[in-house]
């Protein structure tokens, strides 16, 4: 036993620089977020050290700013619609990749996952050309189509990972006992995929709420929130932007905590990491 402990500690011994490095990286990652939140309360505007005259005034201005809230509503609608498109096409795509063989399957898999790793400008511009040549007027609908298409990849990756862990015997039993494919899908397959689907839905929703590079090219008359913020940044900056960002951050955080809670029920953290990595690597 003693031998075992000493063996453990040989590679568990941590160099001091590694601890310092980790602390510094966390500092780097959180500095802008802390600055963002602190200066949303700063009476003197977005610059200047130390922060002075702490106030809730920017939040008060924000709450009576109709343009911002219109764009928030637009973003929520877009995110909801994009989520539906991504799931309606992403879940079957995962099933197809898991269980059907068809010509061009490898190309199909790559194409579906490509928007996840491709810079948004390419997805945005290629769709802009499609809408231009078909005479489609740019509006929130074109943004929905863009987000939906780009985020099918998220639904497919999440659900595909879920399918890989799924026990096919349940579906087999259901079919043997006389249920048809439709019944089996709704009563056996889908309930078993509940967690990956909810996880994908939340992820798609938050990603769409934040998306700007694709929306940038497909925007019509109505702004989404990121584009409204972008327009204001070009005109000059006020802590109102900090205030709205702080509120969105708190909401995203709540969503993510919910997501982790759901996944934590039957998945260990490293597996989530592996999923994310696979998604990131486009596999």
């Amino acid at each position: 036993m003693e031998f075992f402990v000493s063996k453990e500690s040989a590679f568990v011994r941590q160099p001091r620089w590694l601890l310092l490095h980790t602390a510094a990286v966390f500092g780097f990652l959180y500095l802008p977020i802390v600055v963002l939140i602190v200066y949303s309360f700063n009476g003197e505007g977005v610059g200047g050290f130390p922060p002075r005259n702490l106030t809730l005034n920017w939040y008060r201005i924000l709450f009576s700013d109709a343009a911002i809230w219109d764009s928030v509503i637009n973003s929520l609608e877009v995110a909801l619609a994009a989520m539906v498109i991504a799931l309606v096409f992403g879940v079957p795509a995962a099933l197809a990749l898991d269980r059907a063989g068809f010509p061009g399957k490898a190309l199909f898999r790559r194409l579906v996952l490509l928007p996840l790793i491709l810079p948004g400008i390419i997805t945005g511009l290629s769709l802009l050309m499609l809408f231009n040549i078909t005479g489609t007027k740019l509006s929130l609908l074109t943004i929905v189509l863009g987000h939906g298409t780009a985020l099918i990849s998220v639904a497919t990756t999440e659900v595909f990972a879920g399918l890989r862990k799924l026990d096919r015997e349940q579906e087999e039993a259901s079919l043997d006992l006389g249920a048809n494919y439709w019944q089996t899908f709704w009563r056996v397959t889908l309930p078993n995929l509940k967690l990956p689907i909810i996880g994908a839905a939340l992820l798609i929703f938050t990603l769409s709420m934040d998306e700007i590079a694709v929306s940038f090219f497909l925007i019509g008359r109505d702004n989404t929130l990121p584009l409204e913020i972008w327009g204001r940044l070009r005109r000059g900056i006020t802590p109102e932007i900090n205030a709205v960002s702080t509120i969105i951050f708190v909401f995203s955080l709540a969503t993510i905590v919910l997501w982790y809670r759901l996944r934590m029920v039957n998945q260990a953290v490293p597996e989530i990491a592996a999923d994310f990595a696979e998604t990131a690597a486009g596999h």
Partner: protein, 282 residues
């Protein structure tokens, strides 16, 4: 086990969608890149290589492309420099705080990209947080100017944004290393340093490649950080594309540049996938 009808039902709808909204747009981009713009500002649908020859002939295009690649390479380097030791610490030394720290790395991803870039702008500006702090602490008398509207600001901001993305696959790779492999290495007389270079690093190479590819590809195509923080010297290739699709109105030339980027990105993905396969032990 699954009937033909079932397979068709799950395959056809996504296949159709992907064909219309991904394959067709890429094909259109390809077509556009061979068309041109008439003096009357309409698109001429006749085919030529003139956009591509223009790319090679006009210095500003290929120089900006090279500068974008150089910025993306720096972002990749610094993201790995920050992300790898972070992943190593979390995987091997974080103990019972592992889950918490892991989530702390992820959380910044949920602050909008745009908002984080904007936050850096308020930090780096000449009357921003950092400069006023330096003056407050009497470290400088005049604001340090090179911080904002420079390639430095773009590299810093993009490194901030892509460090968590490089961290994730590296961490996943480290987590998959069987711990008894390291015990074996120790038993056979390797020092911790040797264990790192000969066991841990080689096994984590696929994760490292995935993270590097992600950081490089996404920062290469970025146009918002340069617009917000780059100034004239921080312009990247996507900014040129944006202006060609906007005020400069030359969609065909913009499409040609986009297509060059697309081909570059897809070949990089292909290359990194091949390398990852070569390095993976399973």
């Amino acid at each position: 086990m699954f009937s033909r009808a079932y397979k068709t039902a799950v395959t056809a709808p996504p296949l159709l969608w992907v064909a219309i909204f991904l394959l067709l747009p890429y094909a259109l981009m390809f077509c556009y890149s061979f068309w041109s713009v008439s003096p009357a500002q309409t698109i001429v649908h006749s085919w030529s290589f003139s956009n591509y020859t223009q790319l090679l002939r006009v210095n500003v295009y290929w120089q900006t492309l090279l500068r974008s690649m150089w910025i993306a390479a720096r972002v990749t380097f610094f993201s790995l420099l920050l992300g790898y030791p972070l992943a190593y610490f979390l995987s091997f030394h974080a103990g019972r705080h592992k889950d918490l720290l892991y989530q702390l790395v992820i959380i910044p991803l949920w602050v909008s990209y745009l908002v984080r870039a904007y936050a850096w702008k308020t930090i780096l500006g000449s009357d921003g947080v950092l400069n006023t702090l330096l003056q407050y602490a009497h470290l400088t008398r005049h604001p340090v100017e090179f911080l904002l509207y420079s390639p430095f600001a773009v590299v810093l901001t993009l490194t901030h944004i892509y460090t968590p993305f490089t961290f994730l696959p590296i961490y996943a790779a480290l987590e998959h290393i069987p711990r008894n492999l390291m015990e074996a290495s120790h038993d056979l007389g390797a020092t911790p340093r040797q264990t790192f270079w000969k066991v841990i690093l080689p096994i984590s190479i696929p994760g490292l490649l995935a993270g590097a590819t992600f950081a490089f590809v996404l920062s290469l195509g970025d146009f918002l950080a340069p617009l917000l923080l780059g100034g004239p010297s921080g312009i990247m290739i996507s900014n040129i594309v944006v202006s060609l699709f906007g005020a400069a109105y030359n969609w065909p030339l913009g499409a040609a540049i986009s297509l060059v980027m697309l081909v570059l990105v897809v070949s990089l993905l292909f290359l990194s996938e091949r390398l990852e396969k070569k390095w993976s032990f399973s």
